[in-house]
C-alpha cells in the first residue's frame, strides 16, 4: 500500500515537472518572482511571531508589500499566458504597463505606511 502511494506520488511529480518544462521562460521568471515574494512574507510572519507585534504598521506594510507584489505578479502571469483564451485580445505590452503602474501605486502606499 505504502509502496504504491510513494510510486504514485513520484509519477505525479514527474508528470508535473515534464509538463512544467513546456512552460515558456517568461512565465517561469514570473513564477520565481512570486515564490521569492511569498517566501519573504513568510519570513516576516515568523519574525513577528518571535519578536512581537510592536511596530504593527511596519509589519503590516512589510508583509502587504510582499503579498501585493505576489498578487500583481500572478495577475501579470494570467494576462500574458498565451494559453489563456480570456485575455487573447490583450497585448502583453499593455499587461506589463498595467503591472508597472500598479506596482508604483503599491510601493507608494507601502512607503507611507512603513514608518
Amino acid at each position: 500500500m505504502a509502496r504504491t502511494t510513494s510510486r504514485d506520488a513520484q509519477a505525479l511529480f514527474q508528470s508535473l515537472r515534464s509538463a512544467y518544462t513546456a512552460t515558456p521562460t517568461s512565465l517561469k521568471i514570473i513564477d520565481l518572482y512570486v515564490v521569492f515574494a511569498v517566501f519573504t512574507a513568510i519570513i516576516q510572519v515568523v519574525y513577528m511571531a518571535i519578536v512581537g507585534s510592536f511596530p504593527f504598521n511596519s509589519f503590516l506594510s512589510g508583509v502587504l508589500s510582499c503579498v501585493g507584489t505576489a498578487v500583481l505578479a500572478v495577475c501579470l502571469r494570467i494576462q500574458v499566458n498565451k494559453e489563456n483564451k480570456e485575455f487573447k485580445d490583450l497585448p502583453p505590452e499593455r499587461a506589463f504597463a498595467d503591472f508597472v503602474l500598479c506596482n508604483l501605486v503599491l510601493h507608494l502606499v507601502i512607503m507611507n505606511f512603513l514608518g
Partner: protein, 439 residues
C-alpha cells in the same frame, strides 16, 4: 482745582467706607460679624446674657430687636445689613417690618446663617421656618420631650421634662476638640429630621427611652415621636455653605441652665456645671463660621520638571498638581491637614483619581501621568466632609495626541520589515529588467 477736589472726595469716601466693607462677610474672613437677635421680650437679654456676652467677646456685633418691631428689616437697598440671624422669639406669630418667612429663607439662600430656638410656645411661623430647613417640630402644641430614664435628677420633680442629654454627634469640627463631659440640660419640644433632606444632621439626639407628649395629661394614644428619632438639636449646612442650627429648647441657652449642676438619673456622677455652655458655645462657633470653613487657593499644575503652567498637555506627559487648602480658625487662615483629599483627572468620568499628600503647611501635592486618551479634561477636587464647607474646584485643560513628528522613527525591531519592503522594490526593478530582456 475741581479735579483735585474730586480725588480728595473719593479718597475720603473710600476711607470712610473701608471699615464698613471690611466688617461684612467676605471670603477673606468668613466669620459672621453682625448678628440680628430677635427676642420675644427684652428680658431675655439678661436671662441669656452669658451666651450673648460670649458672642460679643468673640467679636460679634449683636443687634437686639423685638420680633414684632415695626422697623425690622434684613436688607436695605438690596444689601444685607446682617450676616447672621438669631431667632429667640418662639411665640411670634408675625414678624414686624418687612421680615417674613420668605425674607428669612432668602437670607439663608444668599449664604447667611440662622439660629432658631423654639420652646413649648412655638408658633406656626417658627415651625414653618424650621420645616423649610428640613426639620419638623411636633405638631401637638402641648407636647414636650419626656424621658423617664435619662432625666436630670436635680431638676423638676415628677414630670421628667428636664432632660440630661449626652448623645452627641461624634465630630470635632462641630463640637470642638474638647469632649463635652457633662450632659446637656434640655427642656422643650421635640423635632424630627425630614428624611428627604440629606443636608440636615442630628447633633444632639434624645435617648431611646424619650418620647414627645403632653406631660400633664394621661397618654391615650402612642406618641408620634419616640426614642432616638427625636432630635433635640439639629444643624444644616446648605449647599451654599449657609449654616443653620435648630433646637426645641430656648432654655438651653439660659444662664440658669448654664450655671446649674446636673446629675443624670441612674448615674452616680454629679457635675457641678452642665455641659450647656460648652456645647452651645462650640456649636455657635461652627454655625457662625468660626470653625470648619475651608478655602482652596493656588491650584497649580505643570509638567514634571517645569514650573510654568502649560495651556495643554500631551498624552503620557508626567505632571505635578498642587493646591493649598486652609481652614478659618476665627482669626486667621490655618493650614488644613487631612489625608483624604483627592484630585480627579476627569473627562465625563475620572481617568485618574489620586489622593493628595500634604506637607502639614496646607500644600497638597501629587504627580501622575496623563492617560493615553486625548480630549478636554478637568482637574477636579471635590471635598465634602461632615461639618466642613464643601470644596468644589475644577480647572479645564485640553490633552492632545502625539504630534506627527513625536512618534518613534527607525525602530530597531522593525528593520526586517523595512528590509522586506525595500527588497520588494529592488525585486520589482530586477524582475522588470529580466522579464523584458530575457531572450
Amino acid at each position: 482745582m475741581a479735579r483735585s477736589n474730586f480725588s480728595v472726595l473719593t479718597i475720603l469716601s473710600v476711607t470712610l467706607l473701608l471699615p464698613v466693607l471690611s466688617l461684612s462677610f467676605s471670603p477673606d474672613s468668613p466669620s459672621d460679624r453682625r448678628l440680628l437677635v430677635l427676642l420675644d421680650d427684652l428680658s431675655l437679654k439678661s436671662s441669656l446674657s452669658i451666651f450673648f456676652n460670649s458672642l460679643k467677646s468673640r467679636g460679634f456685633d449683636l443687634d437686639f430687636k423685638l420680633a414684632d418691631d415695626p422697623k425690622l428689616a434684613l436688607q436695605r437697598y438690596g444689601q444685607y445689613l446682617y450676616d447672621g440671624l438669631i431667632l429667640f422669639s418662639p411665640s411670634i406669630e408675625r414678624f414686624g417690618g418687612t421680615l417674613d418667612l420668605a425674607a428669612v429663607l432668602d437670607f439663608v439662600d444668599s449664604g447667611h446663617d440662622l439660629l432658631i430656638a423654639a420652646d413649648s410656645s412655638a408658633s406656626d411661623l417658627i415651625k414653618s421656618v424650621a420645616t423649610e430647613c428640613g426639620v419638623d417640630f411636633d405638631e401637638d402644641p402641648s407636647a414636650l420631650v419626656i424621658d423617664h430614664k435619662s432625666y436630670a435628677v436635680a431638676g423638676t420633680e415628677g414630670d421628667h421634662t428636664l432632660i440630661a442629654a449626652d448623645d452627641f454627634i461624634e465630630s470635632d469640627v462641630l463640637l470642638g476638640k474638647n469632649k463635652i463631659e457633662a450632659p446637656v440640660l434640655f427642656k422643650g419640644i421635640a423635632h424630627s429630621l425630614n428624611a428627604a433632606n440629606t443636608l440636615v444632621l442630628k447633633v444632639l439626639s434624645a435617648s431611646p427611652s424619650a418620647y414627645s407628649a403632653n406631660p400633664s395629661s394621661k397618654l391615650s394614644s402612642p406618641p408620634s415621636l419616640t426614642g432616638s428619632s427625636i432630635s433635640l438639636v439639629s444643624v444644616i449646612q446648605a449647599r451654599n455653605n449657609a449654616r443653620i442650627m435648630i433646637t426645641g429648647s430656648l432654655d438651653m441657652f439660659s444662664n440658669r441652665f448654664f450655671r446649674s449642676s446636673v446629675q443624670k438619673a441612674g448615674s452616680p456622677k454629679k457635675y457641678d456645671k452642665s455641659g450647656n455652655e460648652q456645647f452651645v458655645t462650640e456649636l455657635s462657633k461652627w454655625v457662625f463660621h468660626e470653625r470648619g470653613h475651608l478655602k482652596a487657593v493656588n491650584l497649580r499644575h505643570n509638567k514634571a520638571g517645569e514650573t510654568d503652567e502649560p495651556a495643554m498637555y500631551r498624552i503620557k506627559d508626567d505632571l505635578d498638581f498642587s493646591v493649598e487648602i486652609y481652614e478659618w480658625s476665627g482669626k486667621s487662615w490655618e493650614p488644613y491637614v487631612a489625608d483624604d483629599v483627592q484630585v480627579q483627572f476627569y473627562m465625563m468620568s475620572p481617568y485618574v483619581l489620586k489622593t493628595l499628600s500634604n506637607d502639614k503647611k496646607g500644600l497638597y501635592h501629587t504627580s501622575f501621568k496623563v492617560p493615553d486618551v486625548y480630549g478636554v479634561f478637568q482637574f477636579k477636587v471635590e471635598y465634602n466632609r461632615l461639618g466642613y464647607t464643601s470644596l468644589l474646584l475644577s480647572k479645564q485643560i485640553p490633552v492632545r495626541p502625539f504630534r506627527h513628528n513625536e512618534y518613534e522613527r527607525f525602530i530597531t525591531a522593525a528593520f526586517p520589515y523595512y528590509g522586506a519592503s525595500f527588497t520588494m522594490m529592488a525585486g520589482f526593478f530586477i524582475f522588470s529588467f529580466v522579464y523584458l530582456y530575457h531572450k
